[in-house]
Amino acid sequence: MASVEMKNIVKRYGDGFPAVTDVSMDVADGEFMILVGPSGCGKSTLLRMVVGLEDITSGDMIIGGRRMNDLAPRERNLSMVFQNYALYPHLSVFENIAFPLRLRKAPEEEVQRKVREAADVLELHEHLDRKPANLSGGQRQRVAMGRAIVREADAFLFDEPLSNLDAKLRGQMRTEIARLQRRLGITTIYVTHDQTEAMTLGDRVCVLRKGVIQQVASPRELYEQPVNLFVAGFIGSPPMNFLPARLRGGTLATPFGDVVMDAKRAAGIGDRDLVLVGIRPEFFEDASLVDEAKKAYGSTFTAQVDVTEWLGDAQFAYIPYDAPEEVAAQLKELSRELDSDQLRTQAIVSIDSSSRIREGHEAEFWLDARKIHVFDPATGENLTRDSEAGAELTRLAEEDRAEQISEARASGMTVEG
């Protein structure tokens, strides 16, 4: 058990490429921290610096109160699950899990007991004598986790552990990892590029972009109070829509009609002329299905529907719009950076699955104006962010976590040590 503190961590490669720039972050004891970002954002590099596989150019890496910068991986007492599992093919599953114990010459009785315990937790009992080559992807993943948990390490590190599994198994393993972490109450740092994993697993999520921290917050705060365009666009699926708008005395003129802003949030926009309005797909609705009482909180507009996708429990409609030249380039750059190559400027709206809106027809939509955010198109900054409300969300999440951990520890389910 230990906390992980990073102070002004910088990683610069030999050719001068800055992989990680001035990252400072605290991971509390027992916390599940997610590092997330598109490929090449430096999240794996950061994790490898924590474990010691990558040198730290400058800054302090403090684990459990000790500065670890110059210690070899084996002296840091951390365990890591690799993206490719990295199982030892010449050893049986039992010996793979026992490997860390054998290295520190643990007595045979202890090795037997701990490996059996880990196998119990991960349901690997009938596979203990097999070789990794004969296991399925999910089983290999569990063996890799077994090797990590027998160690009684100070922290778990995961490097995109689920990206090689198929979608269904990924969902199962995700739940499994969450359950295991809660049960063991061990500090965990988990790297992923998948925002679903980030949202579902993490107590807190750290969003990285080009080696720079954008925001560290609970999933709810990231979703509801993102600090900038990048975080807003990265978190959420389908992603947030960004509509160009011009401020005309308290109302925003968007391609989908005028949206009235309350005074407090309008004040944040100041005297900017052109802004980007961030609207989540679920803030839209088929106007014919909205209560009259609710309608007043937003505005209605009609638009041509390009495509609809009916999924049973939800329905998405795609509405193209024209963006002015100045922001079109900005939006294109953003979508490229988020690894999603959006070809045309279109809004994705989520409507009730019972809606009879049809493709290629005009339809009337309702837009909930209460939770929309306004961004500065040049800097990407969120002009309407309520940092107090955001901090409150993260505080609540932290309370939940503290409660879960103390419950887990009280019920004695954690591994001893």
């Binding site: 474990v51 010691g52 596989l53 070899a72 991986p73 084996r74 951390l78 365990s79 890591m80 690799f82 490719n84 599992y85 990295a86 199982l87 030892y88 093919p89 010449h90 490997f99 860390p100 290295l103 520190r104 070789k131 990794p132 080559a133 004969n134 296991l135 992807g137 290999r140 090797r147 160690r151 090689n164």
Partner: protein, 277 residues
């Protein structure tokens, strides 16, 4: 593949096997012929005889052949063993580390491998006599290393490159020192490569004739290929063809046994299951 096409492949395969094995069959057949029978103009001996074998194993050629056999085994095994150990470290460094002069080491190894043996054997002969290595085991082991080491480094570094680096990192995170990671993870994974290299290196040393004949003069260190050249017939008018053929068969047998033993260790796909994809 159609039946017709497959038949063609079978015919072609059989032809190639016959072509390749014919000289060996001939040697075997020769080794069973009595001296008078050797020029009988037919493939098989008219009378099968063990005479040649008894001559080299217990007869008058035994004093030449048996010590040579012992020398060959000892020298080649030691040279192979040393080459494998040294090449393992060298190949690991070449595959894993980025250091200055890496290319230089590889190209030097290649240059040594293609350097003609005959051109250095004379200076070596003089040098060895000067420093007392002439006609000793060590005097052959050192030049044999120059034959086997470059080849071993090249083949083994190819094998080491195939091993995912993550395996070693995982071991280090699990608490292994670099040496433990190398010994407990990398070496077992590289075992097929090590055995392949060992076989190749052993053949290379086993087959050497030039060093063997030039750097030795007595039974103290003379290897088999050199000894075969020194066989003499029963009289000066008689070629020792039968005895030479018998000895050739005898020295081929250990090589075949060696391959059969190690072949089981050269299993491809040992790294299966280590990593995904």
């Amino acid at each position: 593949m159609s039946t017709k096409e497959r038949n063609w492949w079978i015919v072609a395969g059989v032809l190639i096997i016959v072509y390749a094995l014919f000289p060996i069959a001939w040697i075997v057949s020769l080794s069973f012929k009595a001296p008078a029978d050797i020029a009988n103009g037919q493939f098989l001996p008219t009378v099968f005889t063990w005479q040649n074998y008894s001559q080299i194993l217990t007869g008058d050629a035994a004093s030449l052949f048996l010590p040579a056999l012992r020398n060959s085994f000892g020298i080649c095994l030691i040279a192979t063993f040393l080459a494998c150990i040294l090449a393992m470290f060298a190949a690991y460094a070449i595959a894993r580390l980025n250091f200055r002069g890496k290319k230089l080491i590889l190209s030097t190894a290649l240059a040594v491998a293609i350097f003609p043996v005959i051109s250095i054997v004379t200076p070596l002969f003089n040098l060895w006599r000067l420093i007392g290595l002439y006609d000793t085991w060590l005097g052959l082991i050192i030049p044999y290393l120059s034959l086997t080491l470059p080849l071993s480094i090249w083949t083994m570094s190819a094998f080491f490159r195939e091993i995912p680096w993550e395996m070693e990192q995982a071991a280090q995170v699990d608490g292994a020192t670099s040496w433990q990671a190398f010994r407990k993870v990398i070496v077992p994974l590289a075992a097929p490569g090590v055995f392949t290299t060992a076989i190749l290196a052993f053949f290379l040393a086993w087959n050497d004739f030039v060093y063997g004949i030039s750097l030795t003069s007595t039974n103290a260190a003379r290897p088999v290929p050199a000894a075969l050249g020194l066989f003499s017939g029963a009289s000066q008018f008689e070629d020792p063809t039968g005895a030479t053929a018998g000895a050739a068969v005898v020295v081929t047998i250990p090589v075949i046994i060696l391959v059969l033993i190690f072949q089981r260790r050269i299993v491809s796909g040992l790294t299966n299951g280590a990593v995904k994809g």
